[in-house]
Symmetry: C2
Subunit: 498 residues, 2 copies
């Protein structure tokens, strides 16, 4: 608890209140701008394209968004009560702006130089996830309090392909490997002893490295890859994009009954529904791969250190540095680790040294922030956990008031890291529309709320996945609208009945 309270130092409150002012001022300017035709059309194009090219999260729905640029773009148009404004919650890349407004005020107290940098960042329509944002605020403060998280790279440095020629993963920066172990030890979310660390260009590349490593090269038919529905909508797309003869997406693990070897992906906490998961296929010849991207204190209580054969992590979900494209795998079996390294050698001849060096610095600052909770900012996880808690409270209240939806219920658990008991606060809300609504995505779209239909996750259209990580201003409009939908909807039903 002490950690959580430390988040609310007088300094932070000052920051937040100033942030609110700056945020409001900028929003006024913002709305003014959106009235200007030229500015509008530019925003539309950018927003439409961003929605179109949403990384990893929107493969399945790109065409939908392309076909509706006006709506997917009109989040830049706001009327007085926000009723006609489209809220796009089919990705997790929007929260940045308001957070950066907060940061603006933060910087504004400081140096004008950084201020202008942040200003340009705040006004640039770049997607950002809340996790990025946790990082952004945290590292802004870290930077302000002494350049701790800043890295300097001379032109002549780290030019070789090699990071540690003598080690199994010859392109892994030893400094980064060291910080990975330190962070897991302080958070307590994964066992690192007797593991090989394999670095990847994000956990997406590591997932493909795992498929390559686990698939026998001489098999007569492709290895089956399964995951329990609802599963991460990108798994099938990545697995089958090259029509590999080594492996093949085989759908929902619960209904998998093919004989022979297979790979089961266990995403825990799960994307999209946030539940903690175990393997569900009860057959011999199966290999488990654990995607633990969201097993961090801001999303889920850390019950115990995960201790599986293959575990995948990424900085984009832990510290928020998605732009680094850095993930890591903890692998027990030496041969599997060697084949993963081989895939990454064939695919990209290793992983950016610059980003690994920067990731090492960032993880070091995060771990130090955890080890010394007296820091006024609290740890990155303290800050992020509190923000997620706020948002889930708001959402559940809106769902109760509406009466048209249901949400997953999570049992609380004790977090070994935060030393408190709480229920998971996933990065996504897995919302179910109750009867008479059959197509939840279409229903919410008719209310100018864009989500992703359950059909992309291997289940029915009565479910949608909602990003919990949009901008504060969008999120507030969303929950307010959700809470009042039932009235408008019943009216619509009456009209239909007549």
């Amino acid at each position: 608890m002490a950690r959580l309270f430390s988040v609310f130092s007088s300094r932070n409150l000052l920051v937040l209140s100033l942030a609110l002012n700056v945020s409001l001022i900028l929003r006024v300017l913002y709305e003014k701008e959106s009235g200007v035709i030229s500015g509008l059309s530019l925003d539309n194009k950018r927003e439409a394209l961003r929605t179109d090219s949403m990384p990893s999260e929107a493969h399945a729905t790109q065409k939908e968004h392309l076909s509706m640029p006006s709506s997917s773009s009109s989040s830049s148009t706001v009327d007085s009560n926000g009723r006609d404004r489209v809220i796009n919650l089919d990705h997790y890349a929007e929260i940045g702006k308001t957070q950066v407004h907060r940061q603006l005020s933060f910087w504004h107290l400081g140096r004008s130089e950084e201020y202008s940098v942040c200003m340009s960042e705040a006004l640039a329509p770049l997607g950002r996830s809340a996790s990025e944002n946790f990082g952004r605020l945290y590292f802004a403060s870290a930077f302000k309090t002494g350049d701790k998280s800043t890295i300097l790279i001379p032109g002549w440095q780290s030019m070789s392909y090699f990071s540690d020629a003598g080690s199994l993963c010859w392109f892994l920066e030893p400094e980064f490997a060291k910080e990975i172990v330190r962070l897991h030890k302080v958070v307590g979310n994964a066992v690192t002893e007797d593991r090989y660390i394999v670095v990847g260009t994000g956990s997406t590349q590591l997932y493909q490295a795992v498929l390559y490593a686990l698939s026998p090269l001489d098999a007569v038919e492709p290895l089956s890859v399964v995951s329990a529905a609802p599963y991460y909508s990108s798994y099938p797309l990545i697995t089958d994009c090259l029509k590999s003869g080594l492996y093949k997406w085989a759908g929902d693990a619960q209904s998998f009954n093919k004989e022979g070897p297979y790979i089961e992906l266990v995403t825990s906490p799960n994307n999209p529904d946030g539940y903690v998961r175990q393997s569900v296929v009860n057959k011999s010849g199966g290999i488990l791969v654990h995607d633990l991207a969201y097993y961090w204190p801001q999303y889920s209580p850390i019950a115990a250190a995960a201790d599986h054969d293959i575990m995948l992590f990424t900085v984009s979900k832990s510290t928020g540095h998605a732009g680094m494209r850095i993930g890591w795998a903890l692998v027990k079996d030496e041969e599997a680790a060697k084949k993963m390294v081989k895939y990454i050698e064939l695919n990209t001849i290793g992983v950016s040294k610059d980003s690994q060096l920067r990731a090492a610095k960032v993880l070091q600052v995060v771990t130090d922030g955890c080890k010394y909770p007296t820091s006024k900012e609290g740890s990155l996880f303290d800050f992020a956990a509190h923000l997620m808690e706020e948002r889930w409270k708001l959402l559940r209240a809106a769902v109760r008031q509406s009466g048209l939806f249901t949400l997953p219920e999570f049992p609380p658990g004790t977090c070994r890291f935060l030393n408190i008991s709480f229920a998971p606060r996933p990065a996504f809300a897995w919302l179910k529309c109750e009867a008479p609504i059959e197509d939840c995505e279409a229903f919410l779209r008719s209310n100018n709320i864009l989500t992703r239909s359950g059909i992309h996750f291997g289940v029915g259209p009565q479910y949608v996945r909602i990003s919990m990580l949009d901008r504060d201003e969008n999120y507030d409009v969303f929950v307010e609208r959700l809470s009042t939908i039932h009235l408008r909807q019943s009216m619509q039903l009456d009209e239909t009945a007549e």
Copy 2:
């Protein structure tokens, strides 16, 4: 010419002479160390592993090297005349050390801090290519003369997945795109007008993105991928590693006679033989992909700006920053560019922003160095071209003296960038053993010279590929040994005859 002479300023000569001293001193220490058993075994392990995991260049020969760790490692053991020392020229990752020794002297004149950094780098057994090294020396000087090539990244910066949400390649940093165009304009090696720029995690990822982009998703059989032998030995391995149903390696383009669509890879200057190339398949339905990784003034005269539909480049061969893992493609067709972007989104969700920002800075410094030839260091290309010229002179002299080998002969051409006429100085020497030698790789190995057999490049065992980019000290021993082989070889032949 003025540019070339500018390389020999009194300052450079001082640097070189001091470098020689430092190099000799370090070599003495080095040889002492290699006598120590513990040090030796460590070196052996590292060398063996480095050779085993040689990026990109050694896939085809890994097992060979694994099976001969003692020889592949004994480059760390030197006798008085170097006769028993194994020279490994089956990769291009070794030149770094002596060059760094030069750099050491360079730094030694400067600040002790950088000196210690360089010292640790110099003694670290990391592979480095000559191109890396060109960069290393160049950027060391650039750094010394005012931090021009140094980049500083605060912890909160460039966290988003997005670089330019509104552009076709939404993960391409606009600053990097700008510098790519500037560099091509000043060097004059490629047309950038009316092209889409796609950034990749090295040109290796871009090659795979091209295959994905050009392969019809609904084809009944995989698209044929061909290249004229001798072809880059990694092409077949990368193309077939996942047994894709979209595309398939179909071997030597000269003997390709299958009907229907195909992809022809045109590597120019070619790896391994260094010749400037054109398409050789004369059929309809073919799509050309130009790999121009080596089309830079240090390797080949720049005759004209390349103007092809798809052109691939990489910083590892141009500026030497292999550790960045950054390449770029210049693509005419919008749909092809979009599909390449889609592949990179599926494969790694974009490309490291940190490395792109650093690459932008590095390219900027290189381009500025080209635009102001009054700089005492000369441009990166001046320095690199001179080093390659020296090495090829030494090699041709050794081959003449030996009488057992032949090398490709290149017609001189005028370089629009260096404003002189010269013959290509490729990064690899494509050496042919004349009769009675049948297996050139085995013959050279019996003389403790490790090379890569022609069989990996789609031709016969009478050819080998030799890296021209090894360390100065290794390269000198190699050419000296090559020039004297014929005597020992004839003796061996006499013995066999008796």
